[in-house]
């Protein structure tokens, strides 16, 4: 660790992993509820479990992004963090807010929670992924602004690199587009139209900047390839990502009451969206092949390469599968969407956060890399989780294809619930894959505590 203040990243990473575990546990609950409908009812109805599952994902990824920024920015800027104590204070504020929100979901009736948190003053709740109470949303904005202030000041007083500039753009964009979560008109079409300004412009816009910056940072560190080379590919890739992704928002505007031309604009530009993901994969492999050093942290290299491949498969290929309007007419809002969502989030954002954790955590704990035994276990966890996710995606895709066929294409369409019964085998298989994912996650956790005689070099 080159700068003392990078240490504030540690609690962020720990919290991120902890919440990740929570996310997966609730995912397993939901997976079981798909086949055993009354499991945990009425204690944890499906909608509550889902809210916890998705909100934990968002919160732990944000913890990961913030931790990554605190780790990376001082090193890139070659200066201590502007205010490490602010960073630590924000950690506790964000963790408390996040924990209170999740507890609120689990322990308080949602309508009551809405009433006591000011939803009658400004109604923002009850929309997918934006279920957070108004107070939590305001808290997120405050934390994000204070965090951005801290990071921006650090960059301003130090060296400005392409990586910090791109990361900052991504993080500022994240905060700015979140503001659209406060806009909730009664007009459902407008509501949905701008809801996507948060959701799509996050995951297929500014988050890609964050992801590319984190990946570029790790690649510079583990390959030793000239920064100039990595920087220019970084710019080309994120240019392609935004060129295709911004108008690509149109693929969400096909069936929500927006004008018909979005079917053309959305189809054409989102058909190009796999290109930047493919470029990112080629880029990651290329840089590793051209490496000038053998970095001892093999696990981090594996995660970095895995991010490229899985982001391309999940976001690129599985996104393309159902993005063209004539296809999407049949697949919209089916299990195909769920399949894409799972692999894209895992491949792009979960894996990039684990990549930076895998690289930074040993250094934060005072060594260049973990012992060989720990790394082997971590790589096992990589394969277990990744393969499990591939199978989750495949089973959900199979369920989705069957669902679309029986419910939407067939001459005698079946009702939704009847179809759900027909595809339950795939839901069982998905749940089994989910258990394997959990086993992989446990292996990942254990890898942090593995000790053996083979002493790693200290920094």
């Amino acid at each position: 660790m080159k700068y003392q203040s990078q240490a504030v990243a540690l609690p962020y990473f720990v919290a991120a992993i902890g919440l990740f575990v929570g996310q997966i546990l609730f995912g397993l609950v939901m997976g079981l509820q798909y086949v055993v409908g009354d499991f945990l009812f009425p204690e944890i109805p499906f909608n509550v479990a889902r809210m916890v599952h998705t909100n934990l994902l968002i919160v732990w990824l944000l913890f990961g992004f913030m931790g990554a920024a605190y780790y990376l920015v001082p090193e890139e800027s070659e200066t201590e963090l502007y205010c490490p104590r602010l960073a630590l204070a924000l950690f506790w504020v964000f963790l408390a807010a996040g924990a209170l929100t999740i507890l609120g979901y689990l322990l308080v009736d949602y309508a009551t929670l809405a009433k006591y948190t000011g939803n009658d003053v400004l109604a923002t709740m009850g929309r997918e992924f934006l279920e957070q109470p108004l107070l939590t949303k305001i808290g997120i904005v405050v934390v994000a602004l204070a965090f951005l202030f801290n990071i921006t000041m650090t960059v301003l007083k130090g060296r400005k690199t392409s990586i910090t500039v791109v990361l900052l753009l991504g993080l500022w964009g994240l905060a700015i587009f979140f503001l659209f979560s406060f806009y909730n008109p009664t007009n459902l079409v407008l509501d949905k139209f701008y809801w996507w300004w948060v959701v799509h412009l996050w995951v297929e816009g500014v988050w890609e900047l964050i992801m590319a910056a984190l990946l570029a940072f790790v690649l510079i560190k583990v390959t030793g390839v000239d920064r100039e080379v990595i920087d220019k590919w970084l710019y080309v890739i994120i240019a392609l990502a935004l060129v295709t992704g911004i108008i690509g928002t149109g693929h969400h505007y096909y069936w929500i009451g927006a004008p018909g031309y979005w079917q053309w604009w959305g189809s054409i530009f989102s058909a190009l969206e796999p290109i930047p993901f493919f470029a990112m994969t080629v880029f990651a492999f290329n840089m590793v092949n051209r490496r000038r050093r053998e970095h001892p942290n093999k696990a981090a290299v594996l995660w970095a390469l895995g991010t490229g491949v899985m982001a391309f498969l999940g976001a690129g290929v599985w996104g393309f599968l159902h993005t063209l309007a004539p296809v999407n007419y049949y697949t919209h809002g089916s299990q195909i969407t769920a399949a894409h969502g799972h692999m894209a989030f895992y491949g792009a954002y979960v894996m990039v956060v684990i990549t930076i954790i895998s690289y930074a955590m040993p250094i934060l704990r005072g060594r260049a890399c973990n012992s060989r035994k720990a790394q082997v276990l971590e790589m096992w966890s990589f394969w277990l989780m990744t393969i499990a996710m591939v199978f989750i995606t495949l089973f959900l895709t199979a369920a989705g294809i069957l669902q679309v066929w029986l419910q939407r294409i067939s001459d005698s369409p079946m009702p939704f619930m009847a179809v759900q019964g027909q595809v339950s085998l795939f839901y069982w298989l998905r749940e089994i894959s989910g258990v394997i994912f959990l086993i992989g996650l446990i292996a990942y956790l254990v890898s942090f505590f593995v000790k053996d005689g083979d002493k790693p070099a200290t920094t």
Binding site: E128, N187, L188, L242, W255, W262
Partner: protein, 141 residues
């Protein structure tokens, strides 16, 4: 590589391309804003519809159902439920939840008053009349 490849050019293209496509997106958004009154059924937004949407949101219905295809995929699409089932059925359904049938998916009872249920139904009726390019493909959603 036979050509030149500079970081400055790559950076300029990133900034230029981003601004360009965001402006294009804003232009399309502007046109959409002007065109929406023809399709979004805003003339039928009554106070009851507004209240119904509020009930829809504060009961987190989107956590199980889809509405115009967006939401969770655990329970049926409700964008066209008004057409599929009609108001009487919807009312009877909401009141009789949960079914308690063992092993079946359960919907909570939200203890809505008669007036609230009517408002929710008004919201679902308004939603079913949004001109959304004839999605879903059939009445089953």
């Amino acid at each position: 590589m036979s050509g030149t490849f500079t970081k400055a050019m790559a950076r300029n293209i990133f900034y230029g391309g981003t601004v360009f496509f965001f402006l294009l997106f804003l232009a399309l958004t502007f046109d959409t804003t002007n065109a929406l009154p023809k399709t979004d059924n805003r003339q039928n937004i009554t106070p009851a519809v507004a209240a119904g949407k509020h009930i829809w949101e504060t009961r987190n219905c989107i956590g199980c159902h889809t509405l115009l295809g967006e939401g969770a995929y655990y329970a049926p699409e409700l964008g066209n439920v008004y057409v599929r089932r009609g108001p009487e059925f919807i009312k009877a359904w909401i009141v009789s939840q949960p079914t308690g049938a063992p092993g079946r998916r359960q919907m909570p009872n939200f203890h809505l008053s008669d007036e609230e249920i009517d408002q929710l139904i008004a919201f679902l009726k308004y939603t079913s009349e949004i001109g959304n390019q004839n999605w879903p493909p059939n009445i089953e959603g």
